[in-house]
């Protein structure tokens, strides 16, 4: 079997749609937890393309890179959520519109 299930362009467009939804989430969400989840969405869009091109080129490097992305995502989620807990303790909210103490 040396053909992809669907043409390569379909995977790229799917990945692009998921990445753009992540971008929209980061730009529009006010709940900081949803912003973190949108970042996870973008990481997953990148993962999909890594796996697709690992298959296209027959090179395992892409799949190994997904493994590293997974590790980074876990570290980022742990630190990000710890920061959110600290912020919630300080402000009583994770609304990013209220985190304005750096405003001049």
């Amino acid at each position: 079997m040396n053909a992809l299930p669907v043409p390569l362009g379909n995977y790229i467009i799917l990945s692009g749609i998921l990445f753009s939804l992540g971008v929209i989430g980061v730009l529009t969400a006010r709940n900081a937890i949803v912003i973190l989840m949108s970042i996870e969405l973008m990481l997953n869009a990148a993962n999909l393309l890594l796996v697709v091109f690992a298959r296209v080129h027959g090179d395992l490097g892409g799949q190994v890179m997904v493994f590293f992305v997974l590790t980074v995502a876990a570290a980022e989620a742990a630190v990000g959520l710890a920061i959110l807990v600290a912020v919630f303790r300080l402000k009583g909210s994770v609304d990013v519109d209220r985190l304005n103490i750096l405003k001049g």
């Binding site: 040396n2 053909a3 992809l4 299930p5 669907v6 043409p7 390569l8 379909n10 467009i13 799917l14 749609i17 998921l18 990445f19 753009s20 939804l21 971008v23 929209i24 989430g25 730009l27 529009t28 006010r30 709940n31 937890i33 949803v34 989840m37 949108s38 996870e40 969405l41 997953n44 993962n47 999909l48 796996v51 697709v52 690992a54 298959r55 296209v56 080129h57 027959g58 490097g61 799949q63 190994v64 493994f67 590293f68 997974l70 590790t71 995502a73 876990a74 570290a75 980022e76 989620a77 742990a78 630190v79 959520l81 710890a82 920061i83 807990v85 600290a86 919630f88 609304d95 519109d97």
Partner: protein, 180 residues
């Protein structure tokens, strides 16, 4: 034919769930929809002979990272009326437009033409082949991830712990461990 059907079902499920991650007000529902997206992507990984990555996606991502998110959402116990009136209502529209423009630009960059996938040997993407790659060619980056994870665990504990009362005003003297 069945392969195409599976792709389209998984892709549509992933996109609808991703849209709901972004637009739902309830953070718990957002987390659950993100898990649906991750599982749909795992189905696509299985089709692309990435069995080990698909299993990792479900066990580590949907199983561990998303449970961490769910745990924090429930720990913070946000109410729905937490987020009052939008201070910058046009920002939401502008953000959506920026995302749509980004997508249009991405799609415009895709060239045509059929790409044939390489013929892959049996066991491509299996635990055995990934393990050989990880502990052979990618040994050094793999060891670095352990450093990254230790740093992340330490940072999470230090940032999220409650400061004990005598530490709040004065910086703690070096070497003394405050009560967590």
């Amino acid at each position: 034919m069945a392969d195409q059907f599976i792709f389209w079902v998984a892709a549509i499920v992933a996109i609808i769930a991703a849209i709901r991650v972004v637009i739902l007000k309830n953070a718990v529902l957002s987390v659950l929809h993100l898990i649906v997206t991750l599982i749909a992507l795992a189905v696509l990984f299985l089709q692309l002979s990435a069995e080990f990555i698909a299993a990792l996606q479900i066990i580590v991502y949907a199983g561990a990272i998303m449970v961490l998110f769910l745990f924090i959402v429930m720990l913070l116990n946000l109410r729905k009326d937490e987020f009052g009136r939008d201070q910058l209502p046009w920002l939401r529209l502008l953000g959506t437009l920026a995302g749509a423009a980004f997508l249009a630009e991405l799609i415009s960059l895709i060239g045509g033409g059929r790409v044939m996938a390489a013929t892959v040997p049996d066991g491509f993407g299996s635990v055995r082949s990934i393990g050989i790659a990880l502990f052979g060619e990618y040994m050094f980056p793999f060891e670095l991830t352990s450093l990254l994870l230790v740093a992340a665990v330490l940072a999470a504990v230090v940032v999220a712990r409650r400061k004990s009362s005598n530490e709040v005003d004065a910086a703690p003297p070096a070497g003394s461990e405050g009560e967590a």
